[in-house]
Symmetry: C2
Subunit: 694 residues, 2 copies
């Protein structure tokens, strides 16, 4: 049992309180932004009606998702309470509830902002950009604040009651709660949004020649609901999870590898706290700077990173002692600062790379657009190739980041790089949530028959939003890969601690060697997980979309007046069908990582260790190729719609629509869900150590 001196205990307390105060400032800023948005006109009656219909559908879906997931959560809570302890189980609850809450907030804010963005687009591009961005920024600030508050407060409570090692251990429960819910949110939301989207496109655009968001399409409200429950709610839950888990991972690693430096435990909180300030600076930047949308957003990220980089320095040198003992090595505060800088740098690099592969200005997207001229198949081949290409640079930079941050401060260095990378989440989410808001704003504009110029503005912002969404996904998956590596390190350390505690087998350095067939088998099984997971996710979208297609065809056949505009379609029926289909289809893939880990554990902790690394390795590639490829397909279509290669209605455009449709479940369902899936596998492995290996 570890007992802290009162001075150290005071230091720990102060650091966490600092983070909590920053989080409260973030909350304040978010509420200010909400008031700003509410002050905007929500548009005419028709617009408000549509926004209300979307909101109703989104709420109905999220409520049912929460009920479905709660049943599973209760089972896990009971299991944890019996096999681990009540604190871990309580942590699980907090993580799960906060992850759901993050999703809910993301959805609510988006729904409030969409009609207001559409209304703002009737006056100018700048004001539309600001409303949409501020809507996203609310989610960004709230998610980050929520993560800091939940992790910080729960840690303070545990530390007050439990000895430090138990307190740190209970945090794993919070991580599991956050991860598991976020897998469900990503999958359920992802299946919903893409089933509705693909279903609406297949019958609407291709069979009945309707434009996107045409109010005569019975699936159009479901499509817009999907943007909110998938891209907003799912994404918010996901980033909340990634952030919370990386802070918890850093706490665990700091505790396990730097036992004589308790400062290492609070440093992640300080980084998080400072970054709230950085995010606020970035948000102010977007609201005052006047230039084209893509550029403003990138500059805002840079400004935010710069603020963090400057403020990290005094905090790091003041906090840590001059020499930090780590086993038989020592680190300096400067090295720790360097690791934090590497994280910030990685954010910039990943954003730049993904932007290159998915923005209409660069050659990858244009190659796909060009390939569309020769038909559907060449568009698909080009997109698949670009997706695979897009894995190269991120992975090479991730490798460099691992190497350099490891040389800075060992595994703790990697953990700090991840934490600082993720502490940028506030500003990055603002960019991401911006996308679905403008997408919805466009939907509202078309459905309420606003003038064409308004739709052009929302379309332009939508293209920027597509790139930003892809960029955020690249960022999320890169950081998730790193965070998962930290979790794997935690798995090994925990295993070692566990066996030395129960006086069992000693975990020697040879245990996890590639020379052992168990490791190779583990790598193969782990490598399989992302492939199987995404196969199930893709099929789920296909099945759910099929249900939508049938319903839309049924409505159009039953009421021929719908297409003529004389009859109203039953939007609610489509919303209801997708809701049920998404909830049904998300269960199997979401439980896949849990099943894999438990089966591998039966073969021993070595196979399990191999599995964890195997999942990280292939998961990274599968996820990046899917999210970047999907983003590129989407914008290749947008590029053609701008009038290139024949423009809208040309055969190239038809091919590009096929690519976009294939890319949809890639980039919005299967790809991003791999991110929490990897972490669920690692966290479950850590949790079952004391239960399975005796």
């Amino acid at each position: 049992m570890i007992v802290l001196s009162s001075a150290t205990s005071f230091l720990l307390q102060t650091g966490i309180w600092f983070a909590l105060i920053c989080a409260l400032i973030g909350l304040g800023a978010a509420f200010y932004l909400v008031r700003l948005i509410f002050a905007q006109s929500p548009g005419n009656d028709r617009m408000q009606q549509i926004a209300a219909a979307i909101e109703e559908g989104a709420k109905a879906y999220l409520n049912r998702q929460i009920i479905s997931v709660s049943i599973i959560a209760v089972v896990i809570f009971i299991l944890l309470a019996f096999t681990r302890d009540l604190f871990t189980a309580a942590g699980f609850c907090i993580g799960a509830v906060c992850s759901m809450l993050a999703g809910y907030i993301g959805m609510r804010v988006a729904v409030i902002s969409n009609c207001r963005t559409a209304q703002a687009a009737t006056s100018s591009r700048e004001s539309a950009l600001r409303v949409a961005f501020n809507g996203g920024a609310v989610t960004g600030l709230l998610v980050v604040a929520l993560a800091l508050l939940s992790v910080g407060l729960f840690f303070l409570i545990c530390k007050a009651i439990l000895p430090l090692d138990k307190a740190v251990g209970s945090m794993v429960g919070l991580a599991l709660g956050a991860s598991l819910i976020s897998v469900f949110a990503r999958l359920g939301g992802g299946i919903y949004t893409k089933a509705a989207d693909v279903g609406a496109d297949l019958v609407g655009k291709i069979e009945s020649n309707l434009e996107e968001d045409d109010p005569r399409n019975p699936a159009t409200i479901a499509d817009n609901v999907g943007d909110n429950v998938g891209d907003c709610a799912g994404m918010a839950a996901d980033v909340f999870e990634t952030y919370a888990v990386s802070v918890i991972g850093a706490i665990l690693v700091g505790f396990l590898t730097l036992p004589s430096t308790p400062e290492a435990i609070i440093y992640p909180f300080l980084l998080g706290g400072i970054s709230v300030i950085g995010a606020i600076v970035g948000i102010i930047y977007v609201n005052v700077r006047k230039t084209r949308p893509g550029r403003v957003l990138v500059e805002a990220v840079l400004a935010s990173a710069l603020v963090s980089a400057v403020l990290y320095w005094p905090i790091t040198t003041l906090l840590f002692p001059a020499t930090i003992q780590a086993g038989d090595q020592t680190h300096s505060p400067q090295q720790i600062y360097l690791a934090a800088l590497i994280g910030l740098l990685m954010t910039g690099i990943i954003v730049a790379i993904t932007n290159y592969y998915t923005a209409t200005e660069f050659s990858p997207v244009r190659k796909i657009a060009h390939a569309s001229e020769t038909g559907h198949a060449t568009n698909i081949i080009a997109g698949l190739a670009i997706g695979q290409h897009a894995t190269a640079l991120p992975v090479i930079f991730i490798a460099l980041a691992i190497l350099s941050s490891y040389y800075c401060a060992g595994l703790y260095g990697i953990a700090i790089a991840v934490t600082s990378m993720l502490s940028m989440a506030g500003i990055i989410i603002s960019l991401d949530a911006f996308g679905p808001i403008t997408d919805n704003a466009g939907g509202v504009a078309v459905m309420s028959e606003l003038p064409k110029e308004t739709r052009m503005i929302t379309d332009e912002l939508d293209a920027v939003g597509n790139t930003m969404k892809a960029v955020t996904k690249g960022y999320a998956i890169a950081s998730a890969g790193l965070a998962a590596l930290v979790l794997f390190g935690t798995y090994v350390s925990e295993l070692r601690a566990h066996f030395s505690q129960i006086g069992g087998h000693e975990i020697g350095p040879f245990e996890f060697s590639l020379e052992r067939p168990q490791i190779i088998i583990g790598l193969f099984l782990g490598g399989l997980l992302p492939f199987l997971f995404s196969a199930f996710s893709l099929e789920a979208v296909g099945k759910a979309a099929g249900a939508v297609v049938k319903e839309v065809r049924r409505q159009l056949a039953a009421k021929p007046g719908i297409l003529k505009g004389t009859d109203l379609p039953e939007y609610g029926a489509c919303v209801d069908i997708v809701t049920r289909a998404a909830l049904r289809e998300m269960i199997v893939p979401a439980l896949l990582p849990v099943v894999f880990v438990i089966v591998a554990a039966l073969f021993g902790y070595v196979v399990l260790g191999g599995l964890l690394v195997g999942t990280i390795v292939t998961g990274l590639f599968v996820a990046i190729s899917m999210t970047s490829g999907g983003g590129a397909w989407d914008n290749a279509k947008k590029y053609i719609e701008e009038g290139n290669f024949g423009g809208k209605g040309s055969s190239a455009h038809q091919a590009a629509v096929t690519g976009d449709t294939v890319g949809d479940p890639y980039k919005d369902t299967a790809g991003p869900a791999i991110n929490p899936m990897i972490k669920v596998a690692n966290i479950v492995a850590i949790l079952i150590i004391p239960i399975v290996f005796r």
Copy 2:
């Protein structure tokens, strides 16, 4: 330096001579089959003309490919001669020449058989099946005989001149020669065949509404040439390589891990020799049994495996002493026999699994066909998902095979399982080469306007051929994964031997642990290789196909009489364009593994070790998902053409054509080329050990 007793030396010699005699029997059987084929009627003048045109194009391409590759081969020969020794360099030459020869033979036999199969199809399905299968069987027997002869004779010569360790070491040169040429052959041939195929389909089928193989399509001869240089020549070079490399790998592992049992070195030769007999039995079976084609072929594989399994037993127990010393462990001959059985069993299992995922009778192909009803995009999504699904069972069985054969006899057990798996190559290639021969026969039938019934027979055989091709690819990649693991084991053993010899750093058990960041980085970089490699390959097909499309459009515009049938297209111009494009585009991806290995070596042998394993892990998944997915797409189209879901000309059929076109470069270019690529990486790593790590 290791000196053998004269008794052991005699044993070694006898064993190898046994294998050589079996190889000669195989050659004899092949020549008998060639005479059988020549005795068939080659059809009317028109058919012979077309066959001659195809032959001319194929020869022209292979000649130019040999010239291009020879330049690279000469550079590598000189490098090897200077940095290693003349024997390794000579081995490289032998491997390279035999690999090219295998390709050439495969092509020649196919060209002789195609018009004869078409002619036989005018009389009955059985006789067409036999001509096509016997054509494939010639290639199968020749490839296996060539591998045994080249490896056996070269080993006998080296052993006569050099001490045993040097002799064994020189074999790595032969492996590199075989692998490198086979990467080029697979890539060049794969790019050629698919560029011609996709190009011909895009303008012919989609733009001008021509049937497959319509003589008015200027790219149609190039398309048929492609089947011969890709599916026949490329495949033959590839399987020659896989077989030769796995025998060499087993020799190396036997030598390194069982130093006191020289029998371990000749055992792989004995397995190879016996399997020639097994293959001949299988071939006879096909020629006498009368039932539907798919079933005959599967039964032939079973018969062949049964013969091998029975004959392995006396050989194994007679050869090995009762206890085999391996470090501080011992193995029994029974355990070795079990490892060999596991290999045979794995062949059956992989064949059955791939058959399930790619044959028209089972649900995966039908799911894709069903998804085609809702359009291009859903067809693609379904195919991608099926491809990913198809990785699960093979990988799980590979993991079980590794585990069980390792428990039988350590790394040597895995090596023996691979060798026995690959010794089935004779009969398996017969199945594979059967596919392109019937495909070409169909082409000849249409172009020479034979009656419709003939085309129906070749179409039916073609569908069986598609599945067989996919099955062979599954078999090739699964065995390649295992063979590469053996090579990785060799890499580590060689490294250990090298450092102990130069008195350097000792390779401890911790070196290749997943706990080291260098290993993780290596896994990431290695994992990247298959993704980047296949991205380049897909793009190469896209570029080359684009060139074909332009040429075909040019010809159709310049001579409007072509489509009316009053003007003859210039077939030669298309053949020429694809030839140049394929040779140009194959260079970059083929050199990628060499570059990756050398760059990783600069970061040290630990990163390099991680890279080798990373490539194997992701390579296996990428290759299986591509080859199975591609096969499933192809047969989904065939299934619709049989009259399901609307049949030919329906919108479902159009979507299925898109899927088939996407699947083409997947299953015939990128996917199968990953197989030799993985081995090139591993062999280059073994070769550069004494050069780079000092």
